[in-house]
């Protein structure tokens, strides 16, 4: 089952590469996305054993992140249909590679979630970079080219450091008294209490820097705003909603080894420091932002910071961090879809040239307002609860000022976002152009995601709450 989840999208990607008809490509894309979601839902019904000599193995955190990826990918593929069919692009060559790369991207992200072999996971994370780089370059503009180059080089170099960290962990385990272990999470966790501490700590630092680059933690985030703003909107949604989480999961795997070693204080401190740095930097840049896609990109950095701080605080905040991963993905993917609708209608990403969205694109406008409030932490949407849980743990912890700083930075980010988005929404809108830009499929995915974010705020389904609790329990919660 797990191997099929990885291989089938990859094979369909190859098929899509050789098919000549765009409609067949789209059918392949949506069909794969649907099948992926159904298979993932099936995995929730029971345990699935390890496969391929324990190279593939699914645990609760893996299932959680796999499900996020699957949901976001399905909504992105539905959104892609009108995007591809009625888009303004006219480059058939780019189009030909677009859908295959999307499918390979899905395959690589799935592999990150379903493996617990840290070297294989590394190969999968690097695979996500390689599959998504051509997607970022879709529009073939100079800006897109620059963004693609930065993305490729910065992330490849960052991830190379994570490979070094992976090897360091192997070296630490090989020197432990239990003897050499393989690089699976279970083997490393067994060896963890006996690992040479300097190698273990160096391994975590390298993994945090390496995968943190991919996750967009400050000060390693430099590629993220450029890439998210230059990529086509469905790709930005996938990058923010699914890919950043995969990088977070990779960091969590190293964190699990640190927890098993019984010596995790340094890892917690590092997670909190990088998380707070991300919050600080993101809210500063959001206050002075002129480009609404960059605004959402910085908001992603902010939210990755929130997740990192939550995980570092531990206890109830670990649960909050995982819950926030779900909430953020729902909201941010939706926001990038809506940004795509606005961009298609107004033809610019500069916020000052966009006025009267509520008049011209009523559905998009209302959803944009709702999702802005949701990601800003306004009740009754889901993010409010996850942020509140983390805030509460910070206040109750040893450093209460951390909680105060945390909530002030959230407030600052909210103000920054409001300052850009509210003027865009209001203002005179020309009624004549209504309807032309809003096809049903470009509004339905963000509507579904916004509804899900609302439901997450009102009532968390028991199966999800249970899984979140179990995953948090494995992660110091």
């Amino acid at each position: 089952m797990l191997s099929l989840l990885v291989i089938v999208p990859a094979i369909f990607g190859v098929l899509a590469l050789y098919s000549k008809d765009l409609r067949i490509d789209l059918v392949l894309l949506v069909g794969t996305a649907l099948a992926h979601l159904l298979a993932t839902a099936y995995l929730w019904t029971g345990e699935s054993g390890p496969e391929l000599d324990r190279l593939l193995e699914l645990d609760v955190p893996g299932l959680l992140f796999l499900s996020i990826t699957s949901v976001i990918f399905l909504s992105a593929s539905l959104y892609t249909i009108p995007y591809i069919l009625h888009g303004t692009h006219d480059k058939p060559a780019a189009l030909q590679r677009f859908i295959p790369c999307l499918l390979w991207f899905l395959s690589a992200m799935t592999l990150v979630a379903v493996t617990q072999h840290l070297a294989l996971m590394w190969a999968a994370v690097e695979g996500t970079t390689l599959a998504s780089a051509p997607l970022v370059y879709f529009y073939r503009r100079r800006g897109a080219l620059e963004a693609t180059w930065k993305y490729l080089l910065v992330c490849s170099v960052g991830i190379a450091l994570a490979l070094l960290g992976t090897f360091f962990l192997g070296i630490a385990a090989a020197g432990s008294s239990v003897g050499a272990s393989d690089l699976t999470l279970s083997g490393l966790s067994r060896a963890a209490p006996f690992m040479a501490r300097p190698w273990l700590k160096a391994a975590f630092v390298l993994a945090l820097v390496g995968y943190g680059t991919k996750m967009g933690l400050a000060p390693l985030h430099t590629w993220l705003p450029d890439t998210h703003s230059e990529a086509p909107s469905p790709v930005s949604a996938l990058l923010s909603g699914a890919l950043l989480n995969c990088a977070f999961l990779a960091i969590l795997r190293f964190y699990q080894v640190c927890l098993a070693s019984g010596d995790s204080q340094f890892a917690r401190t590092l997670l909190i420091v990088l998380g707070m740095a991300s919050l600080l930097l993101a809210s500063a840049f959001m206050l002075s932002q002129r480009d609404y896609k960059r605004l959402f990109a910085y908001s992603s950095i902010e939210n990755m910071g929130i997740m990192s701080v939550g995980m570092g605080l531990g206890g109830a905040a670990s649960y909050g961090a995982l819950l926030h991963a779900v909430n953020h993905s729902l909201c941010k993917a939706g926001l990038f879809f809506l940004a795509g609708n606005v961009l298609r209608s107004f033809g610019t990403t500069l916020a000052r040239d966009v006025r009267g969205v509520l008049g011209r694109l009523p559905e998009t406008g209302v959803l944009l307002l709702a999702l802005f409030l949701a990601i800003g932490g306004v009740p009754p949407f889901g993010p409010f609860w996850s942020e509140f849980l983390i805030f509460q743990s910070a206040l109750a912890g040893a450093h209460a000022w951390l909680g105060v700083l945390f909530v002030s930075l959230l407030g600052l980010a909210f103000l920054g976002m409001a300052g850009v988005l509210l003027p865009m929404l209001s203002g005179p809108g020309s009624i004549q152009e209504r309807r032309s830009a809003e096809s049903r499929l470009s509004v339905l995915p963000p509507l579904a995601l916004a509804s899900a974010a609302l439901v997450m705020g009102l009532y968390i389904p028991s199966f999800l709450a249970d899984a979140l609790h179990r995953a948090a329990g494995m992660l110091g919660g």
Binding site: D53, L55, H117, A119, L120, W122, A123, E126, G127, T129, L130, A133, P134, Y137, R140, R142, G143, L145, E146, A147, T148, W149, K150, L152, L153, S156, V157, A160, L163, L164, F167, F168, G170, I171, A172, A173, A174, G175, S176, A180, S181, D182, L183, M195, A196, P198, W199, A202, P225, D226, S229, E230, F285, S288, Q289, R294
Partner: protein, 221 residues
């Protein structure tokens, strides 16, 4: 037979310094290819004599990795980068951020730092050879130096390759822990990575008429 291994590691180290000191892009790539040859031989020199009696089950694994490394790092990747150089029609690294003389000096300093780091971070198991860890650190650090001190996209790719080579040397301590399929995956990632970077360089040189990454700075806040 650590004698062979030490010789290969010294070759790697000398090539590190040569790449820093040279401005001709093609020479950098050729040197990087030679480094690939040395790295392909390294697992054989380190492990082939390591078993006594019977057949080491890892021997096939090591031989295949050696061949794979040779093909990818010494043949295919250098060809990809050389093609990018031809298409972009650049020969030299003109005016790097840090002058060549100064960067050689820094590189020498980094090699010293690497030996110091290796004395602090001691392998928790018997080291195959005492040179392994310092040369691995040195290759990683000098690779970083090349990455940040040069402007041409091609040289940055060479720096990235050096970084990967240094990590590869660390990996030699773990040959028995990593399954062949995963090692193959890591090698494949590197190959596809350089392939995609080559395509990107091709597009950059067509769109901008140069491959100076310094000028790729239109996107900012």
């Amino acid at each position: 037979m650590t004698g062979y291994a030490d010789f290969l590691l010294l070759v790697v180290l000398v090539i590190d310094l040569y790449i820093v000191a040279t401005s001709r892009l093609a020479s950098c790539v050729h040197a990087s290819a030679f480094q690939g040859v040395a790295l392909a031989l390294l697992p054989l020199a380190l492990w082939a004599p390591g078993y006594a009696g019977g057949v080491d089950p890892q021997v096939l694994h090591i031989a295949l990795m050696s061949v794979g490394t040779l093909i990818v790092k010494a043949l295919v990747i250098p060809q990809l980068v050389l093609r990018a150089i031809r298409e972009a029609n650049v020969r030299r690294e003109v005016e790097p951020f840090v002058s060549l003389h100064l960067s050689v000096l820094i590189a020498a300093l980094l090699v010293g730092v690497s030996f110091w780091m290796a004395s602090v971070l001691v392998l928790p198991m018997p080291a195959p050879t005492t040179l392994l860890v310092p040369v691995a650190f040195a290759t990683v650090l000098v690779g970083f130096l090349v990455l940040v001190s040069r402007k041409k996209a091609v040289t940055q790719v060479v720096g990235y390759l050096m970084l990967e080579n240094g990590i590869f040397i660390f990996g030699q301590t773990l040959v028995r822990q990593i399954p062949f399929a995963v090692e193959l995956g890591i090698l494949l990632d590197l190959l596809v990575g350089v392939f995609v970077m080559g395509i990107a360089i091709h597009h950059i040189s067509r769109a901008f008429d140069h491959i100076d990454t310094e000028l790729l700075s239109a996107l900012k806040d």
